[in-house]
C-alpha cells in the first residue's frame, strides 16, 4: 500500500469530491485528484463513469416505474430530459428510491406552466397517488349489511372510514380518461382531447390491486367530506347533495370493498 500523502483528505472530503464527480459529467481531473492521482486519465474516468451511470439509471428507473403513463405520453426522450432537470433540483435524499418521485408532479406543474402541457402535471399527480396507494396498509372491508343494522334515526351521526390506500385527485383535465387508455404495454390513447373537460378520480388499492375510479362531481364532493371524517348528516349538507347521492355513493363504496370502519357501530 502506498504511504498516505502529506496532507491526506478526510473521509468527508473524499466523499464530497466523489459526489461532485457523480453529479457533474464535466468535472475535471483536478477536483478528482483527491480520490486518485490518475483521476482525469481515460481509464480512471471510464471506471468512474460506472458510478455516474448507476446513480443516473437508478434514479431514472425509479421515476419510470412510478410514472409509466406519463412516460408513454411524452416519449422516452422527453421523459429523460424532464427527469434529468428534476433530479438536478430534487436529488434523492433517502436511501429508498420509492420516494424519489414525490415532488415530481408539483415540479412538473411549474416546469410546464404556460406550455399547453400543464395537464401532464395532473396526470403525474394521479400516478403518484397510485404509487402511494399500493404501498399503503390494507384493512378488511365491511359489508353494507353492517350499516343496515344501525337504527335509521342514528344514521345522520354515522361516520365511515375508508381503506388507508384511498385518496382523491381532481383535475380540470381528463386525466382519468388518459390514464385508463394507457394501461397495458401496447395501449395508446392517441391525441388527448383536453376539451372534454375535467375529471374527479378516486384511487385505492384493494386485494393488492390499484383501481382508479372516475366519480361525478356530486359523488366526489360527498366522498371528500366523508373521507375527511364528517358524519353523514354534515357531509350531505357541506357537499350540497341529497340523501339519494349518499345512498348511491355508499352502495358503490361498500361494493368496491372501500369501507373499513363504521362509527358508531350498531348496538349488540
Amino acid at each position: 500500500m502506498p504511504p498516505p500523502r502529506e496532507s491526506s483528505p478526510g473521509l468527508r472530503e473524499v466523499q464530497a469530491a466523489f459526489g461532485r464527480g457523480l453529479c457533474d459529467d464535466s468535472i475535471d481531473g483536478d477536483d478528482m485528484q483527491v480520490l486518485a492521482p490518475d483521476a482525469g486519465a481515460p481509464a480512471f474516468d471510464a471506471q468512474f463513469d460506472v458510478y455516474r451511470n448507476n446513480a443516473w439509471q437508478f434514479f431514472l428507473a425509479a421515476l419510470e416505474r412510478t410514472f409509466p403513463v406519463l412516460q408513454k405520453r411524452v416519449g422516452q426522450e422527453f421523459f429523460r430530459r424532464l427527469t434529468r432537470e428534476y433530479r438536478a433540483q430534487h436529488p434523492s435524499r433517502r436511501g429508498d428510491l420509492h420516494w424519489a418521485g414525490a415532488a415530481f408532479p408539483a415540479w412538473l406543474a411549474v416546469r410546464l406552466a404556460g406550455t399547453g402541457y400543464q395537464w401532464l402535471a395532473d396526470l403525474a399527480r394521479l400516478e403518484w397517488a397510485c404509487e402511494e396507494s399500493v404501498a399503503a396498509a390494507q384493512s378488511p372491508a365491511l359489508s353494507i349489511g353492517q350499516l343496515g343494522a344501525i337504527a335509521p334515526d342514528a344514521l345522520a351521526q354515522v361516520t365511515v372510514r375508508f381503506q388507508p390506500s384511498l385518496s382523491t385527485v381532481d383535475s380540470p383535465y381528463p386525466v382519468w380518461t388518459v390514464w385508463q387508455a394507457n394501461q397495458g404495454d401496447d395501449s395508446d390513447s392517441g391525441p388527448t382531447d383536453l376539451a372534454q373537460g375535467g375529471e374527479h378520480c378516486v384511487v385505492a388499492c384493494v386485494a393488492d390491486r390499484v383501481s382508479v375510479y372516475r366519480l361525478d362531481p356530486a359523488d366526489y364532493r360527498l366522498l371528500q367530506r366523508l373521507h375527511a371524517g364528517e358524519c353523514f348528516g354534515d357531509a350531505i349538507a357541506s357537499a350540497r347533495v341529497d340523501a339519494g347521492v349518499l345512498a348511491r355513493l355508499l352502495a358503490w363504496a361498500f361494493s368496491e370493498d372501500l369501507v373499513v370502519g363504521i362509527s358508531p357501530t350498531a348496538p349488540g
Partner: protein
C-alpha cells in the same frame, strides 16, 4: 396490519448452510410451490418498507415456508453524513415484522452533503474509515438488537489514501464492531480483475469465523478506456472462475449459507434453482470434508 405488526406464522428455522435464492417479484407466486424448494430466501430490506402492497404480502406468504435473510442496500453505513435514523427505523420495523434469521448491509457509503446516490459506493481503506464504519455498525446493531453482517463491495476505482488492503479493512471492522461478514465471492473476483486485488491475501486476511453468509452472482464484461472492466450487474449465471473461487472459499471458511444473487434479467425460477443445486453440491463436499 400495520407496519409494526409481526406476521402470525413464520418459519423459525435458522438459515441453513445450504443454498438459497433471492426473492424477486417475478417469482412471488412460483416460490410458494417450487419443487425442489430452495433451502432459504433472501429479500432486499428496502423493498418491504411499506405497510402493505403485493410485495409485502408475497414475503409474508413466503416467510411461512422459508428461513429468511434480509439484505439492506440503503443505509450507506460508511457515509460521513449522519446516519439516516428514519431509514434505520424502517429497517428495524422490517426486521421486527419479518423476523429474519440473518440481517446484512454493505461496507459502503451512499450519501454526502444531504444528497443520496442510492448506490454502494466504495470507501478508502483508512484508519478513519475503519473507525467510522465500525461505530456506525455498532450503532445499527444496538438499534436492531442483533448482529449485522457486512458485505464486501465490488468496486471500479480505488483511493490513493488507502492504507490497508480490503481484507485488512474488513477484518478491522469485524474486530471493532463485532459484526459478521457476508462474503461476496463474485465481488472479490471482480475487484481482483478491475483493481488488482490479491485474492490469496484477501482470503487470508478475512477472519474465518466471521464469514456467516456467501453471495454468488454473475458479472458482465465491458471495454472501457482501452481495458476490460468487469461489471457486477447480477444479470447472468455464476462464471466458472467464481465457482472455483467459491469452492476455495468454503474450504477455507467452512460451509455457510450461500445465496444465488440474480437481480437483473431475472430468469425462470428453475434456472435459479439449478444454480442453487450446483452450490449445494459444493456445500455437501465441504460438509463431508469438515465431518
Amino acid at each position: 396490519m400495520t407496519g409494526e405488526a409481526s406476521i402470525a406464522s413464520v418459519n423459525c428455522d435458522p438459515v441453513p448452510a445450504r443454498a438459497g435464492i433471492g426473492l424477486r417479484s417475478q417469482h412471488h407466486e412460483s416460490i410458494l410451490t417450487a419443487s425442489p424448494r430452495p433451502a432459504w430466501i433472501e429479500a432486499h430490506t428496502e423493498n418491504y418498507f411499506h405497510a402493505g402492497g403485493p410485495a409485502v404480502r408475497a414475503l409474508e406468504k413466503a416467510r411461512e415456508l422459508y428461513p429468511l435473510s434480509l439484505h439492506g442496500v440503503g443505509l450507506g453505513l460508511g457515509s460521513a453524513d449522519p446516519l439516516d435514523r428514519e431509514h434505520l427505523g424502517r429497517v428495524r420495523t422490517a426486521v421486527h415484522r419479518f423476523a429474519p434469521a440473518l440481517v446484512s448491509e454493505h461496507a459502503c457509503w451512499a450519501h454526502v452533503d444531504g444528497r443520496h446516490y442510492n448506490d454502494l459506493l466504495p470507501l478508502p481503506y483508512t484508519e478513519e474509515a475503519v473507525e467510522h464504519l465500525s461505530a456506525r455498525v455498532r450503532e445499527v446493531q444496538d438499534v436492531l438488537g442483533r448482529q449485522l453482517l457486512i458485505e464486501n463491495l465490488s468496486a471500479y476505482v480505488s483511493f490513493a489514501e488507502s492504507q490497508l488492503s480490503e481484507g485488512e479493512f474488513l477484518a478491522a471492522v469485524v474486530e471493532r464492531s463485532g459484526c459478521g461478514l457476508l462474503l461476496d465471492v463474485n465481488n472479490a473476483y471482480v475487484n481482483a480483475s478491475n483493481l488488482g486485488l490479491d485474492l490469496g491475501a484477501f482470503f487470508d486476511a478475512v477472519p474465518p469465523r466471521a464469514v456467516q453468509e456467501i453471495h454468488l452472482a454473475g458479472h458482465s464484461r465491458r471495454r472501457v478506456g482501452g481495458r476490460e472492466l468487469l461489471i457486477d450487474d447480477h444479470g447472468s449465471a455464476v462464471c466458472a472462475e467464481v465457482w472455483e473461487l467459491y469452492a476455495h472459499a468454503i474450504r477455507r471458511f467452512g460451509p455457510v449459507p450461500t445465496l444465488i444473487e440474480w437481480d437483473n434479467d431475472v430468469p425462470a425460477l428453475d434456472v435459479l434453482l439449478a444454480e442453487a443445486a450446483r452450490a449445494d453440491r459444493l456445500l455437501e463436499q465441504a460438509h463431508a470434508a469438515a465431518a
